[in-house]
Symmetry: C2
Subunit: 249 residues, 2 copies
Amino acid sequence: MILLCNDDGFNAEGLRTLYRELSQDDDVIIVAPETEQSAMGHAITLNHPLKVRKVEEDGKFIGYAVNGTPADCVKLALNVLLDKPPHIVVSGINLGGNLGICALYSGTVSAATEAMIMGFPSIAVSLDTYENPDFNPAAKFTHKLTLQVLKMGLPEGVVLNVNVPPVPESEIAGVSITRQGKSRVIESFDRRVDPRNNTYYWMAGDMRFDEVEDGTDCVMVGKNYISVAPIHFDLTHHPSIEVIKGWNL
Amino acid sequence: MILLCNDDGFNAEGLRTLYRELSQDDDVIIVAPETEQSAMGHAITLNHPLKVRKVEEDGKFIGYAVNGTPADCVKLALNVLLDKPPHIVVSGINLGGNLGICALYSGTVSAATEAMIMGFPSIAVSLDTYENPDFNPAAKFTHKLTLQVLKMGLPEGVVLNVNVPPVPESEIAGVSITRQGKSRVIESFDRRVDPRNNTYYWMAGDMRFDEVEDGTDCVMVGKNYISVAPIHFDLTHHPSIEVIKGWNL
């Protein structure tokens, strides 16, 4: 059995395309946010109750919609909602890439991380476009990758962060096992004034990368490769431990 | 000049104690959320405008309150609000520890991370208690550490995640340069039924660690050491790259 979640919400096209694909040869249960939760990072809900809506379609139980974040959905699914543990947790397919440092902001990735923390193999999948998405090539690849992970297992503490270029299947250059790009994202804010003369700001503009290193996720997706980045969540920068020990604090 | 932020909100005691301490020998500007933003992870606000309130107290400008997340505050401060770049960004003092895997959920840490991504040295500071907090020992240590970071600099891409035990200064065992504990957190959900017979859930219970390894942040704080963990945000699990290359995807 596969647990499927996302951060674009229960009715998002990317999730539904992946549901249909993965349902071909396994049971799939969706536990996903009622509404879009993009850029929620690894938020969890402590201050309001989590409501759960059981969802049936055409008389068939397909999962639960939760008024929470992607991490909430996974916690609730694995602690409470599912009768038995899933074999794997798949998060996506997200509308928009989760490349480089953006993996930190990503609800899609955080759902997979939460599953890993709780001891389950997990994959996060994103399609690197916001326009005219065709989720089918990404869904097919995710299906193949899911079977491979079920067969091979994943190293302890590792999540696969998959990003698919927005091109027809015939134009995909291949699969690249990548590392996270480190370049910063260039943002801008739109300054506006409201009718009562208060200043406010919108986060604006594209998120642009200035990464150029070959083998990084953002560069390889730019070259039409499917990027598979093994990521983990030991944030310790081990080389710095000795440096700071020398500070005599 | 020091930029000070947090996730407990502009009027939180931990932030105000640190403001008074750091103001002794430097200019400090606060840019912090209007309201508590705990457990927001690295959320950023895309879907509503960020309102900014300039705050003066006793006729003195002390900073800006923003209706956003900790990461929003730092982005907005460094991109728009500050006239000149700060020398360092300090986030805290958080009410409650940010130890082990919880650093992932932490708005306090995410503010410091955001600053690091934007190229500024940064420190996140948390006091490991929710009851009867005395922020003074943590504020004094942060002052000392801030001066040290300003003098020595930090390795590229590194944030210091500081956690202080909730004991009087005389009982602090020392300073330990630590690594992130990896143990999972034990959570539970409270199941309830509303007056209209709908089921809902509250995240409940303490977050307990089952970490036992010496030298990890949670273990050392448990022994009354101040923990200083150098963390970074290259999430790549480099040893797995070769493993997954062998999968022939």
